[in-house]
Symmetry: C2
Subunit: 330 residues, 2 copies
């Protein structure tokens, strides 16, 4: 099996550009309401970027499954509304100042408005979903949103708690990230009326690239330059989120090194010196490469899930997306 | 038409006590999860009280419609989960310290956990609803939750804004309160497979007692003693919420009186003297009685909606609930 797709990600964005433009129009239409605050805030967020990664996956998997009707556009919008709702709540939870290089909604309109517009996007998405009157889609989306909240709550529960295991971490990111991405893919397969086995393959593809996406994201938190991702290095650590690279470091470090890291976290003492100490240890134990390797393992699993599909532009596009998930910022 | 029901509210609680106990069991079962924080917080909230007013209505309206199967218990639980989710978010929005005489969840576990457990309850409710595979119920609940968020956002948008009209206020409380109560009633009618006209009558009953409930609640905010409701007098005013009694006062007061009230709100200067000034004016213009009168108008409208139903214990119970909505604390 090839490691890389025949298509580049630029080609994928180009080929499916018209579909994604229709999704943008749909999002704008979905956000119309008679409460000005909803329009102001949601327009701000949707204009401030986001790659529409989940809508793209829904479109690609529905095309792969032989469906190219309008529902794929409407449901792609819905998935992005749900994703955005969680970002609004996340920014309140994390007291975030910046998202995608712009001020967060909570910095401009306050936490109250951010919580409520998050709730609104979520409930509006729900209205749109149930209007399709497809039980399988209803259940897939309800399950995904419940998983997302469970994942966020488990993450909160493990905040700054070094008893967290790799299994706990993987469970958390499975719930908070992979569930919605796999559901976006599953919806594509449902729209195409795929048989059960193919639905499962497509869902498994989504699950694995969701896992890859989050492991890569958590790894980038320790390497990305500030400008590129609009993030500070080690932000997760400072928020008490113990992610894959840190867990790997704790497994590899000497007893003394681990005990210093534990103290830094226990005391929440994230001085530049302490952060440098941890980053240097990550370098020493090659933790970043190892973590990206873990993410790539998920990418390969994702691709393998689709082995039984005939080759097509849509399949190649899905492979390109899978590669992109890890290699987007390297 | 009689003004009062043949049943007292105590009799209603007694007659439907077994059903409500089953709802409590169902709520407990629905809250089981493998994330300890969910159990801890949700158990705390559900144990700390609440009259289960919405579940009672769902049960009564389904009985009135000839349905007494298990789905009414399961869906009554779901409606209470949704209601509780909004309370959790409301307490964060209002920075509330006390609810039902107990510390709010946010005071004990923080805003983050309160937001997320709110999200969890909401998404769990969604999972349960869609599992019934009834499109009409799906759509009714999705509409209601969207309305609730719209109402909350409109209320936030009008915070401390004296340009709010009575129509704006009624629109807000219709969305934030009456929509879920009318949906609880509508679900009862749907379960009983009522014809369209009866569904509408039952929904209209719910809508009007929802309106009555909120107008009464907003009025009680200016009269209730602290112990009885766990509230401070004029709390809404201090939070910038301009409700029915204040709007009535602004309509009745002299130009000078109104201009002083406007200044108090503009400066958020809620000294005891200023609050007393406003409470005295409410007394002078008999605003509290007028407001309760408005609430009772809605109660009468609610009862009239059910005129075409044959008399029965269930109908009498619904009338008792309608009366109770306004007269619960007087």
């Amino acid at each position: 099996m090839k490691t890389y797709s025949k298509l580049t990600m630029d080609e994928v964005w180009y080929i499916y550009g018209e579909d994604l433009r229709r999704v943008e129009e749909q999002i704008r239409a979905d956000l119309k309401s008679n409460v000005p605050l909803i329009d102001t805030i949601s327009t701000y967020i949707f204009k401030s970027g986001g790659k529409r990664f989940r809508p793209l996956l829904l479109i690609l998997t529905s095309e792969l499954s032989g469906y190219n009707g309008n529902a794929r556009i409407a449901l792609a919008s819905v998935i992005e509304l749900i994703h955005t709702a969680t970002l609004l709540h996340d920014d309140v939870l994390d007291e975030a100042h910046i998202r995608r290089g712009n001020k967060t909604a909570r910095m401009l309109w306050g936490n109250q408005a951010s919580i409520l517009v998050g709730d609104y996007l979520y409930t509006k998405a729900q209205c749109n979903i149930v209007s399709f009157r497809n039980h399988e889609i209803n259940e897939a989306v309800a399950d995904a949103t419940r998983s997302m909240t469970k994942g966020e709550l488990a993450q909160l529960q493990f905040n700054s708690d070094l008893s967290i295991t790799e299994a706990d971490y993987l469970d958390i990111i499975g719930n908070k990230t992979a569930s919605l991405i796999s559901t976006a893919c599953r919806i594509g397969a449902i729209l195409g009326e795929s048989p059960v086995d193919k639905k499962e393959m497509i869902e498994s593809f989504g699950w694995n690239i969701g896992m890859a996406f989050q492991v890569a994201d958590d790894t980038l938190d320790y390497v990305a330059d500030k400008k590129k991702l609009g993030k500070t290095i080690g932000k997760d650590l400072q928020e008490g989120k113990i992610t894959f690279p840190l867990l790997s470091l704790l497994q590899r470090g000497s007893k003394d090194e681990v005990s210093i890291i534990e103290q830094v976290i226990r005391l929440s003492d994230f001085s530049e010196g302490n952060l440098d100490f941890i980053l240097n240890l990550m370098n020493k134990y090659d933790v970043i490469n190892y973590s990206f390797g873990k993410a790539r393992e998920y990418v390969e699993k994702a691709k393998k899930s689709l082995l039984l599909f005939d080759d097509s532009a849509h399949l190649q596009a899905l492979f390109a997306v899978a590669d992109y998930v890890v290699d987007r910022e390297l």
